[in-house]
Each structure stands twice: as structure tokens, then as C-alpha cells.
Subunit: 302 residues, 2 copies
Amino acid sequence: MPELKSRQVSQLPPLQAIRVFEAVARHLSFTKAAGELGMTQAAASYQIKLLEERVGAPLFLRRPKQIVLTEAGQRMAPAVSEAFALLGGAYAAARSGADGVLCVSTLLTFASNWLAQHLGSFQVAHPSLAVRLDTSNRLVDFAREDIDIAIRSGGGNWPGVEVHKLFNADFTPMLSPKLAATIGGVKEPADLLRLPILDPGDIWWRDWFIAAGLPVEELAKRPGSSMGAQAYEANAAIAGQGVPIVTAAFFKAELADGRLIQPFDLVGDDGHAYWLVYPPARRNLPKIRAFREWILAELAGQ
Amino acid sequence: MPELKSRQVSQLPPLQAIRVFEAVARHLSFTKAAGELGMTQAAASYQIKLLEERVGAPLFLRRPKQIVLTEAGQRMAPAVSEAFALLGGAYAAARSGADGVLCVSTLLTFASNWLAQHLGSFQVAHPSLAVRLDTSNRLVDFAREDIDIAIRSGGGNWPGVEVHKLFNADFTPMLSPKLAATIGGVKEPADLLRLPILDPGDIWWRDWFIAAGLPVEELAKRPGSSMGAQAYEANAAIAGQGVPIVTAAFFKAELADGRLIQPFDLVGDDGHAYWLVYPPARRNLPKIRAFREWILAELAGQ
DNA sequence: TTCAGGCATAAGCCCTCCTTATGGGCCGTG
DNA sequence: CACGGCCCATAAGGAGGGCTTATGCCTGAA
């Protein structure tokens, strides 16, 4: 469609040439403008000549020691400068805006069990970065939603995204030291049978009982009450209300300060893990890099 | 200077990509925008992807039946549209402005002897074209002065300009019929010796006297009074005050209506001529073309 | 007169950007 | 439910725009 093309071309000037014109008009010098634009004087000369032919009139008068704008050039220069200022502003705004807000899509579990406790340190480290959490269990599609980076749980084999493993979604019983003390300490798995089990219907309990050699039937006898989020169960555990089976990695802080204890090294593992994922194209964006490095360091450093 | 270049590039976006972005943002469709810009959908997709990588954030969310602007895209779109409107306006203004005013540099002689009588018909034929005359005898340099087209006298061999010969700068005596009648008509060159010679010091008289076989000494005896412009001498001649030697082509109208007569076919010619000149690059500009065609037709048609 | 600064021009090459071709996702309809 | 249409993404390939280097010209200053 050469016709359409030529029509369009005549409506709007060659942009590269216009950019050069703007610089030349500001400096009133081909050489200086070329320097500012990072190109040679010859290139600037070429572009101006091109533009003059398109406009149909000279834009500069070549005087010995300097150039001056022609009437046509004077008409064009102010508006062009303003347009470029606008363009530059918009671009910069989009760029910095892109750096200023980080949209994290995260699983509910991860948000309440881990991010809630740790995000503060990220904010402190990057005060200029506003974090917007988008909490849902959908598998976000970076092409369709305005999301920068996400936490997913699963096998880690998603196409078209860059992934970093955060930790395995393993599970093991946890309880408060006080509760353990009520039965003289928890020495072996069977001791758990003498304590309240939180959410005994959880599939994880079943797996763990099997791995630990405990009778699965015991679980069925217990009163079932699913709390949903691990954080709630953990709180109940801290309060001494019973023993949940949870992902230890979520509660490193509680383990560290003694509010909770992990009585056994035995952990269940269904092969799933938590992953940090983002589009490969944005791997090196400052905010992506900042979040990635922070979260990996945070997990490694504890 | 790769450093400078990359710095610059990061300050201002890739312009072609921005132009595509503007169209896409307006249509909210890659395909339609590509159509408007006279390129393929693939090209639009490519440019948007490029821009998104530069900005560091997606600008559009790809939804099934249509695309929508992301937050970053929304921030950018209005300013970008405005900037392009500005650019388009400035460009159009420069373009049309370039077509609206025609600067003609002309020799004093030509202006008063020919243009003054004829320019009116050009104005009538091109009412939207304003003509600005720049009258001087300098040899204008199109690179240094804001001139569109010029009339020059000389050999016609100037480098770097396009030339059209208007007519030879020949010369021959002219006089009013009444003055001729006072001596019973002018039949042969020698008859002129019985009449007043206007500006007898003019080199043209000398040349013509020699060509006509008249005694050159006669000229020296006459009272010298140079009037300068041929138009003044012609007026004096019409008033019957004497005989000037002038370029016949300037006075076709006077010859046609009988105010002046050219008694002899003998014309002097020093090889010079009047020429229309302009930069080759502007050969096809509407206003250049209009003036050229008009002046050539005007001279041919008489 | 020579030198320095600045623009124009020519030749040549690289890389951007566009095209064609193809595939995938989602929608509607028969 | 399958099929065709619409729209966008991607890959490969090619043309030409636009940059660089090299050189020349002009002018004003020393």
C-alpha cells in the first residue's frame, strides 16, 4: 500500500529529522547539536537537508560563523521544542512511574504467612518504591494483567516466565513449647496423639502420619475444623490450642524466638514449592531486580 | 562515543515506536493503527514491543477481543497525542507557510521595467500566494538569504542553481513617434544625430554606434546625464525628450501601443541576458513552479 | 597568508525496521 | 462441538535509511 504510506509520510515529518532540527535550532549549530545527539556533524547536516526538502523551504541560513533560522524555521522551532518537551516528559513519567510502583501478585497463603511479616524490610530498603499487592490464587498472565512480578506455588515449570525457587512447600507439625510441656515434651511422633490436632482433615496430616508411621485412623476421630490459612493455625498453635501441620519456612521467625517449635525433622513434601516468577524481558528492570534480590536474600539470610 | 549515544537514547524514546504507540492508543488496536500508518500489523506489534522494553513496563494489556492501556500507557498516551498534534501543526504550518509567501530577489532594473507592469497578472492568477520582492543588485546566495527565486543578469553560467533564460539584455535606440516626426522620421542611424541622445555616456551607445557605423566622437560632444534606470529614460523618451538606448524586451507594451518605436532592427548585444534562477532542490515546489511557469508564459505570449 | 572552525558532500556499510509467513488464543456460528 | 474468523505474537529475511569516515570549501581571525 504505497499510496497510503506516502499520504501518511506527508502528513507527519520524518521524526528523526525533526529531532535533529530541534537540537540544531536550540544550539544554532550543526556541530553542537550533533554532539548532543551523539552523532556526527555530517549526520546532522544530512537530516536537516532531508527535512528542508520535505518542508519545501530552507530552515536555516548558513552564515559564515553561525547559522540562523529562516522564517519557516522560526515558525516551526517553538512548537517542535514544546512537543519534544512533552514527549520527553511523558516518556520519563512512564519510565519512572514504571519504576515507582511494583505490582506483586501473590497467593493468599504466601501474603499472610510470609510477606506480611517481611515486606516491611523491603519498603525500608526501597523507600521510593511503592508496592501494590494483588492477592489471588489465579495464575496471573503477565500479558493480560498489570502485574510486574508474582509468587506462585506449583512445580515451577511454566513456559515463558523466569522462575526462582523460594522454598519447598513442605509441611511438618509445629506447636508451642508450653503445649509440649503439658505432656512432658514431645519426643516422638506418637506423642502428638495426646495433643489436639488442628485441622486433622488436612491431606498433609495424612501424608505426614504415614511417613511417621502413625495410624491414619486417629485423624478421622478428631474433630475437624479447618482454619484455612496457615497463619491462623499458627496463631492458634502459638496460643497453645493445638498442633497444626504447616510449612516451616513460613515461620522461621517464630521458630527462632521460641514461640513455636518444630519437634521433628521429618517433613512431608508433595513436590510443590513457592516460586518467584516474572517475564524474562523485564529481568533487569530496577524494581524487578530489587524485589528479586531482596526476597532471595531475605530467604537465604535467615 | 557510545556513552553519549546511549545516554541520549535513554532520555528520549525511539520516535518511530512512539508514533506507532500514539496510533495504537487511539485505535486500541494494533491492526487498525498499522493500517492508518500504512504498515503491517506485525510492524506495529514489533514497535510496541520495542517501546515496552524501553519504557520497562507493558503499555497495553492484550485482552481477547481488544487491547487496553496499562497504567503506564494511560499516563503516556495523552501527552504523546498532544505532542504529535503540536508537531503535525508546526510541520503543516511550515509547509503551507512555505507555500504562501514567495520571496523574489530581483534586479532593480528588472523590477521597475518589467515586473512592475506584469506582476499584477501573477497575483490575480495565484491569489493565495503573497509575493515579497527583494530588490537589490547583489548576487543572492540562496544558502544565506531567505529567498525563493531570483532574477539575475549575466552569462547564465552560475553553479548550483537552475536557470531559465528570460531574454537577452540587448539594446537598441527607442523614441516616441512624435520626436521622430520632428525630423521627418528616422530612416537611418545617422538621423539620430539630429536628435537629443539620452545618457550618451552609456557604454551601450558606444557599442551600438560602432555597430551602426556612426562616429563615436559624436557621443562625447553630447551633454552627459545618466538617469540610471531604463524606466526613467523610457519615460523621458515617451515624453519626447530624447532617444535612449534600452532593452527592447522591457518595453513591449509601449512598442505595441505606439508610445515608443524602435526605428532599427539593429540591436547591440554584449552577451548578457536576464535569467530566472532558483535552487534545483526546490524545482518542484508549487510556488516555484507557479512563478516559473507564469513568467515564461508571460514572456512567450506577448 | 595561513590557520582554525564550521558546514557540505561522497562513498560505503550496518542495522533498524518492515514484510511475508505462520502459529496460537478466543470468539462467534452452524 | 467443531470450524472459521479475528487479532496479536513471533520468526526469518531483505531493503533502504541513516550513520560514519574522509574530504573539500568557505570565511574570519591571527
